[in-house]
Symmetry: C2
Subunit: 351 residues, 2 copies
Amino acid sequence: MGAFPASCPIPLERYPVITMAHGGGGRLMRDLIDKMFATAFDNRWLREAHDSAALEAGEGRVAFTTDGFVVSPRFFPGGDIGSLAVNGTVNDLAMSGAVPQYLASSLIVEEGLAMDELWRVVSSMARAASEAGVEIVTGDTKVVGHGAGDGVYVTTSGVGRIAAGVDVSPARVRAGDALIVSGDVGRHGVAIMAVREGLEFDTEIESDCAPVHREVRALFDAGVDVHCLRDLTRGGMASAVVEIAQSAGVEVEIEEPKIEVRDEVRAACEMLGLDPLYVANEGRFVAFVPECDTVAAVQAIASAAPEGVAPRVVGRVVDAGPGGSGVMLRSSIGAERALDLLSGEQLPRIC
Amino acid sequence: MGAFPASCPIPLERYPVITMAHGGGGRLMRDLIDKMFATAFDNRWLREAHDSAALEAGEGRVAFTTDGFVVSPRFFPGGDIGSLAVNGTVNDLAMSGAVPQYLASSLIVEEGLAMDELWRVVSSMARAASEAGVEIVTGDTKVVGHGAGDGVYVTTSGVGRIAAGVDVSPARVRAGDALIVSGDVGRHGVAIMAVREGLEFDTEIESDCAPVHREVRALFDAGVDVHCLRDLTRGGMASAVVEIAQSAGVEVEIEEPKIEVRDEVRAACEMLGLDPLYVANEGRFVAFVPECDTVAAVQAIASAAPEGVAPRVVGRVVDAGPGGSGVMLRSSIGAERALDLLSGEQLPRIC
């Protein structure tokens, strides 16, 4: 990353926009790869210019994940499709208890996209990868005709290393576990919607888009016996906890007042008719940990969290009653309601 | 794959087409994952329903690759976008000398796609994975609005295992190496173009879409010291050899008459104004091997090749002269022409 250029390394006066030929396997594609991708992501695997990257395996199991990103708009307060794609995949790896190591990038670019805009996305990916301490070691680019895409779609896949002894899975969640949320919820989805709807607030709402693997690492370093982790993306915190409860066959009780939702996010949600518990985040996760590890877990997450972001214990796991597995939310006045997956969708194309 | 259903497991009378909600993180998405993907790709990693798959690492280095597929039309003689995506990524792994093991699937689906058509793609992926002996262990699906895609785009990423001692890379190509092509060239791109242009031939041209890792495995099993491998996708055989020659800093001489192009492919290329050497294939590769291993290499590839497909020695590597690295093609009448990357593209959206 030493010689990382500030502006697009493709001469914009010659190639102001992406053409079909940039995906055709010929010289223009080679130029795009050599000048833009190899420059932004520079590392020894890309310099080998091979079909696959050959990686040193190391000890332990390998975590493997993939995620497509189609967010609209591509640029939003607090992030863009590039940083989102990198952080999203870094976080998926972290959620299996892995140390994220290597990413692969697959772009589907629409003919006519401004070359400089592609550079902004690619350089944002490079910065996010550098900040998260991962390398983008292999990639692919396809170009589709005008009207067969929406600027650029990014699929990032990742591999990481799961240390011996780490076993993070819904199957390990059990009665007595504490449910911790790593920070306030609802910001990413609301930041996207605010741009789409042209909403103005006194305080601009920024996406929480960030890598969370350092918070996860802190949990393991503190000796916490982490049972399960899940990032709170599509479907938000509610869907993540419902899915885990159903997989694990347990009942989870959540105290709604303990969940932090920032005032401006709550106000925007009210305006837009959204439930912040179902709104996507991109830098938040839930952790299920044994009751005896609760304090250590909160301290560990807090020690690695971004400034102004604080983890909280918001609930606990109880034995599934005759009603079966599920999630029960208790409000400030003691009213209870069961959470479930939404039957449809709350917000399209937020990630 | 025991209970693999013949028809779409989503009730088509209720959900005849994909809606935005199928990508929204709620119940419809969960249904799509549980009923369609988990059914088609069934394995223990998917049953864990976690953000990443945790894989046993085994010995040696890990190969990692990704490839996006946007082919139009989605279904063509000899394959479809699903089998293409699986074979393409299996082949990219094989080209680094790896044994392909695990795939990840990321779909970007356009709202309004017929559910049954998605099932045809997904079940084709499952069949291709089964035939290639790999497991699809993790995935993601996003839905974009009508007009922001083209039915379905597939990104497949893969990991495989590179055995100790295997070192396949352009850097190992040297003067004296034989250049072997694993079969006839030009079929995939021409099969796609024939459908697009509505061309009719006496013999239908079928794509050569197929996994090639068994042919690669046969090379190693025969003890051939494989220097470099490359599959002949976008840009065809010519571009693949030019890229390797440039990376390796060598000159490659090719005898054009030794390259097999089927009569109907040659006729279609003439009609369409295409050079078959630049047309994409999806089940062909070149191998650079030491001269002394030439016979063993041809026999090994032939032993594992599909019926009717035969490898041939088509050229050799010589020291780069003062003209620098490159590729020289000698025709049947002895005329020589230098091959280079095409300046643009020959065929859009063939893979």
